[in-house]
């Protein structure tokens, strides 16, 4: 027996597309100064957000994003069926601790930087499956917590390579509902874990581009659509070089993305003036750009159909230390105005 709502190998088509009825974004100072600065709901200039550690600061960003989303939708935590969240820190502590504070039934997710899209896909499935009416989805990252965990202490004097990316300090949250007004989630394509042999943790775009390509190709095949059916094909955090690699990979599969592709990591920062090298990265990058800028454009109907592909690098400092290459994943959802 085949699954009723499954289309092709990896895609589901929702019978009643769930609605993104409210979104909220909270970002740090650098993101607030970036080109998308005015699309975020709140900018917190203090990297500690008034807390005593960066980890607590990141939780604060995530919690504020969730609370703001609930306020916009005029809902209380008890009105929400499930909270779907994740982040980059060990044991997804940002999400876990915020879930403790909100006391909403919680499903923790880890898809590295793809988490917001993983959450959108799973949340939409839960709603269209009839298991929930209201779902909160969110994800966060913080420059200093990510640097501390994955790279060097932040005050360590190191020189970054040109392909390195800058972890976004920010959190994005959205409310998925069975009914209401707002952009709709019509399809989701769950990605396979892909590894084309990149092992350089300072070149994440190169590691993740094959996962984005794999999911995009399967999505287009499954839905029998073409690139031209979308106003925008948006990737999570490939950065400038990952973007180029993705476009080249897609060309080899016979798809020309050129005019229709963009990347949250490129959109969020001004690469010329903000010293971010290849662009932004981190869970907060696709989360804040999607929940902010992209949803705004969909609501204004400047964009009508977007294929968003969140990309995540699924390594840890331990596996890198042991000489392993980087497994990566891309999760896609279709958002329609």
């Amino acid at each position: 027996m085949t699954a009723a709502k499954k289309v092709g190998a990896q895609t589901v088509a929702f019978a009643v597309p769930p609605v993104v009825s409210a979104t909220a974004t909270v970002v740090g100072a650098k993101e607030g100064q970036g080109p998308l600065g005015n699309t975020f709901d709140k900018v917190i200039d203090d990297p500690y957000c008034g807390e005593e550690s960066w980890e607590k600061a990141e939780r604060r960003l995530l919690q504020e994003a969730f609370e703001m989303t609930l306020n916009k939708a005029n809902l209380k935590p008890r009105d929400v069926d499930y909270l779907l969240a994740g982040d980059l820190l060990n044991q997804i502590i940002s999400a876990n601790f915020v879930a403790r504070a909100l006391a909403i039934p919680f499903i923790g997710l880890y898809g590295a930087c793809s988490t917001i899209y993983e959450g959108l896909a799973v949340g939409a499935m839960l709603i269209d499956g009839g298991f929930a009416a209201n779902i909160l989805v969110g994800s966060s990252s913080h420059y200093s917590t990510a640097e501390k965990q994955f790279r060097f202490p932040t005050e360590q004097g190191v020189q970054r390579t040109p392909t390195a990316q800058w972890t976004v300090t920010g959190a994005g949250a959205l409310l998925l509902t069975a009914t209401g007004t707002g952009p709709r989630v019509t399809h989701a394509t769950i990605g396979r874990v892909v590894d084309l042999g990149s092992g350089d943790p300072y070149n994440m775009g190169a590691a993740m581009a094959p996962a984005a390509a794999d999911t995009m190709v399967h999505h287009l095949t499954d839905t029998q659509r073409r690139v031209e059916d979308y106003d925008l094909l948006l990737t999570g955090d490939l950065g400038i070089y990952g973007k180029e690699l993705l476009e080249e990979l897609m060309r080899s599969y016979g798809h020309d993305l050129s005019e229709r592709h963009n990347d949250c990591g490129i959109l969020i920062f001004d690469r010329e003036n903000q010293d971010v090298h290849a662009g932004g990265s981190g869970c907060g990058c696709p989360a804040t750009v999607t929940c902010g800028f992209i949803m705004q454009k969909l609501r204004e109907r400047k964009l009508n159909r977007v294929l968003g592909v969140g990309t995540g690098a699924l390594m840890s400092p331990l596996t890198t230390g042991q000489g392993e290459t980087i497994p990566t994943v891309g999760h896609a959802v279709v958002l329609e105005a």
């Binding site: 060097f152 202490p153 005050e155 360590q156 004097g157 020189q159 190169a206 080249e248 990979l249």
Partner: protein
């Protein structure tokens, strides 16, 4: 994009061949670090740190310290300055441009101890700062001490005062 990447990747080939082709693609797309610019910065800043060190050295010698003591006093001052700048959040800003110029001198060693200590203080003084203090500097110490021991042994065995020659 102007770069000649056409027909470099074939998704129908076996995975191992795809990996090879992809590696070439990544190499073509990813820019190399600006080695010459980085070297000039490293030379200038590293040299400047040495000049500052020399100035302190001369100053201490002028106060009447002998060469060894003046050297020790200079190291203490340079380590303090580097630790202080790390605490102010300035050392990493300089290192972004200076690279090896700020890593190689003794100031880099100070930075590599203070930076993890600053981060670990939220985890307490003992298991936080105490345990993490050497997380970056540890390898430098291990291999530095090993190298010093090896050099000392070689000097002892084959140097001018070697036991075999006496």
């Amino acid at each position: 994009m102007g770069r000649n990447l056409k027909r470099t990747f074939d998704p129908n080939k076996p995975l191992e061949m795809q990996k090879q082709e992809y590696k070439q693609m990544v190499k073509k797309v990813s820019p190399k670090p600006p080695v010459i610019r980085n070297s000039i910065w490293a030379f200038a800043v590293g040299g400047l740190i040495c000049v500052v060190g020399q100035a302190f050295f001369n100053f201490f010698e002028g106060l009447g310290l002998n060469t060894l003591d003046a050297g020790a006093a200079t190291s203490i001052v340079l380590v303090f300055i580097a630790a202080f700048l790390t605490g102010l959040g300035l050392y990493d800003e300089i290192a972004r441009f200076a690279g090896a110029g700020t890593i190689v001198p003794i100031t880099g060693f100070a930075n590599s101890m203070v930076a993890p200590a600053l981060e670990a203080r939220t985890e307490g003084m003992v298991m936080g700062v105490g345990a993490r203090l050497f997380s970056v500097a540890g390898p430098i110490l291990v291999f530095g001490i090993t190298a010093a021991w090896l050099a000392g042994m070689l000097y002892y065995l084959f140097g001018p005062n070697a036991p075999a020659g006496s």
